[in-house]
């Protein structure tokens, strides 16, 4: 019996995506649902270790390398593709669907890449495909898409320089754990961090994601950031710099999210916040913390997609996306409200939801590593998430004031997508063992102890008390909060404009001075050498004879005494 070559799971989604434009609507919808399920099956057929190798420029590309972490991320990437496709069945923009499938397939390509060159190739394909997803929303996404592409170009350059340096120094292309011990590795970690939404370029995410279509944002929320989490998990576990960066992201996401008015931008800031928890856990680097990061990536993809599905439904049905223009939709959009609230409870790590059984491992990881300050900040971050997404977000959309909007829930496919993911949030929360069995390290952890459930409820509900106490201060305003993207959206262009104006003025002033100097010179020459000039006039013979005699006499005197 001969072993057959494994099929890279990502390839299925890429091929399916490329087929979509050529298919009639009915067949297109069938492929959209079947391809992710096939990819999911293939994820579980990939054997451990490198299974498919191609020669490339003297190196070997390892296109299908089975690992526990890769299989975990591959599984949730495929589930996400299915849920996203189900939600997007009514999407008529085939370019977006093609790009979304290409994007999901490329993310799967990274999850099963065994070498750094393959990682980089799929990394860049993701950047291109996701930019197309953003642009597919139409002209209003053009600027944001260009900024998104520019930041990812920067990230790609950093990553490529790092990979090249690593290969030159070690001679190896294997994608394995590294340390921040060389410039090449710092460049690589920086390249990975750009895609997580880390500072100082975090703003690319809340700038671009809310500009995509109602369905495009759902896909975008899953792949770029979590592929970067996967890359950091494999490449730089225990890199302490990640703790600092991750904690910054946790609180950046909360502060900006609390201030934000747009319902999808709130979730985008929250995405950075959640990835911050994962990055922090990777920086802690113990098996418990790394398991926590991996488990949280898995649960987060599902509940964040669910939240964005709910937000997309509200936007699609009401035509509005600002908290200040919404409210009271619970009665008219009950499915959206209930599933959205389940997403909000999951992200808040409320017991019996998926977030509870994953975030708990990150806190436990910090405590086990005796990192008291990190533990305090992670715990405070959990309170912030509950206030921002567990309470404020659903409050202003589904309750609060009656906005007078009388709309229904979205079409069946969108409701089905939300219901499926809400079901998964609860199922994973109730039965965490299945997820724990997929984690990269053996799990010896029980989230449901009386003490843990009681203290988590205390923590969150006390945060809820704080929310109720200051609710009048949280009144929504039609504002944006300036971020580092001000530098490239306003500050940079203004500086460039000022420099251009200054350069034009300086050049004009210099030209005037040169011209006036040249005029003076010409006038002087003309005065002395012109028709009336003293140096140009013909001298009388007598005066010439006088000066010649005088010079000869002077010469004789000098000769005589010399």
């Amino acid at each position: 019996m001969t072993a057959s070559l494994p099929v890279p799971p990502g390839l299925v989604l890429i091929v399916a995506g490329l087929m979509l434009p050529a298919l009639p609507p009915r067949a297109r919808r069938a492929v959209m649902l079947a391809a992710p399920l096939l990819a999911l099956a293939l994820v579980w057929l990939v054997p451990d270790g490198p299974a498919l190798s191609l020669p490339f420029l003297g190196y070997h590309l390892s296109l299908c390398d089975g690992t526990a972490a890769g299989r975990l991320f591959g599984t949730v990437f495929a589930i996400m593709a299915f849920g996203g496709a189900l939600y997007a069945l009514g999407q008529t923009n085939v370019v977006e669907l093609t790009a979304a499938f290409f994007y999901a397939g490329s993310a799967l390509g990274v999850a099963f890449a065994g070498d750094l060159i393959t990682v980089f190739v799929f990394w860049e394909l993701m950047a291109i495909a996701s930019t197309v997803v953003v642009w597919s929303a139409g002209p209003q996404a053009a600027g944001a898409g260009m900024r998104y592409a520019s930041v990812h170009l920067l990230g790609g350059v950093l990553l490529m320089a790092g990979i090249a340096g690593h290969i030159v120094a070690t001679g190896s292309t294997t994608f394995t754990a590294m340390h921040t011990d060389s410039l090449a590795h710092w460049l690589m970690i920086a390249g990975f961090l750009v895609n997580t939404g880390a500072p100082p370029v975090s703003a690319w995410l809340p700038d671009a994601y809310p500009r995509a279509s109602y369905s495009g944002t759902v896909f975008l929320s899953a792949y770029t950031t979590k592929t970067a989490v996967y890359a950091l998990l494999v490449g730089f576990p225990g890199a302490e710099v990640l703790i600092v960066v991750g904690l910054y992201m946790v609180f950046y996401g909360i502060f900006y999210g609390v201030l934000e008015n747009d319902i999808r931008r709130i979730l985008s800031y929250s995405l950075v916040n959640q990835v911050g928890f994962m990055v922090t856990a990777i920086g802690i680097g113990t098996p418990m913390a790394l398991n926590g990061a991996a488990a949280h990536a898995f649960t987060h993809i599902i509940y964040k997609a669910l939240l964005l599905m709910a937000a997309g439904s509200v936007m699609a049905m009401t035509g509005r996306s600002k908290c200040s223009e919404l409210g009271g939709l619970f009665r008219s959009m009950p499915v959206t409200a209930i599933t959205g609230i389940i997403g909000g409870l999951s992200i808040s790590a409320v017991p019996l939801t998926s977030g509870f059984i994953s975030k708990a491992m990150i806190g436990e990881g910090a405590a086990e590593a005796h990192m008291a300050i990190v533990w305090l900040l992670v715990t405070a971050g959990a309170v912030g998430v509950f206030i921002d997404i567990g309470l404020k977000w659903p409050w202003y959309i589904f309750f609060a004031k009656d906005s007078g909007l009388k709309v229904g829930d979205p079409p069946l496919a969108m409701r089905a997508g939300m219901t499926l993911f809400a079901f998964l949030c609860i199922a994973i929360g109730l039965f965490p063992g299945a997820l724990y069995a997929l984690l990269p390290f053996p799990v010896d952890y029980t989230p449901y102890t009386v003490g843990h459930v009681a203290t988590m409820l205390q923590l969150l509900l006390a945060g809820g008390v704080a929310f109720v106490l200051v609710l009048p201060l949280l009144k929504r305003t039609a504002t944006v909060t300036l971020d580092t993207d001000w530098l490239w959206r306003t500050g940079g262009p203004a500086l460039a404009g000022a420099l251009t104006t200054g350069a034009i003025r300086a050049r004009t002033a210099l030209a005037v001075r040169i011209r006036s100097g040249a005029d003076r010179l010409v006038r002087t020459i003309y005065r002395h050498h012109g028709p009336g000039g003293i140096l140009a006039a013909s001298w009388p013979t007598g005066r010439m004879a006088f000066w010649a005699t005088l010079l000869l006499a002077a010469y004789l005197v000098l000769y005589y005494f010399g």
């Binding site: 600027g143 944001a144 609180f251 909360i254 502060f255 609390v258 201030l259 008015n261 747009d262 009401t318 223009e325 409210g327 405590a367 005796h370 008291a372 533990w375 305090l376 715990t379 405070a380 309170v383 912030g384 206030i387 309750f399 609060a400 004031k401 906005s403 007078g404 909007l405 009388k406 009386v450 003490g451 459930v453 009681a454 203290t455 988590m456 409820l457 205390q458 923590l459 969150l460 509900l461 006390a462 945060g463 809820g464 008390v465 704080a466 929310f467 109720v468 106490l469 609710l471 201060l473 949280l474 305003t477 039609a478 504002t479 944006v480 909060t481 300036l482 971020d483 959206r489 306003t490």
Partner: protein, 83 residues
Amino acid sequence: MAEKQPDNSDATTQRLQPFVVVGAIVLLASLVVDEVFGHQGFFGFDGFAGFYALFGLLAGLVIIALAKGIGAALKRPDTYYDD
């Protein structure tokens, strides 16, 4: 589909009431359970029942205060960027 009327605090309080009642009951129950089952902390400073409630309240208030501070400095009308 225009907005009916501006929000008012009485309506908000009324809508909040059921959530507040349920939340308060669960919070009290969790405090009782924490005390009865013997609270265990990780570091020592968190070793008393009710630590999480106290920390949650303080963290919530500090986070909102800091966010408001950032907002006071950096908030701009949502027409600030023209793209």
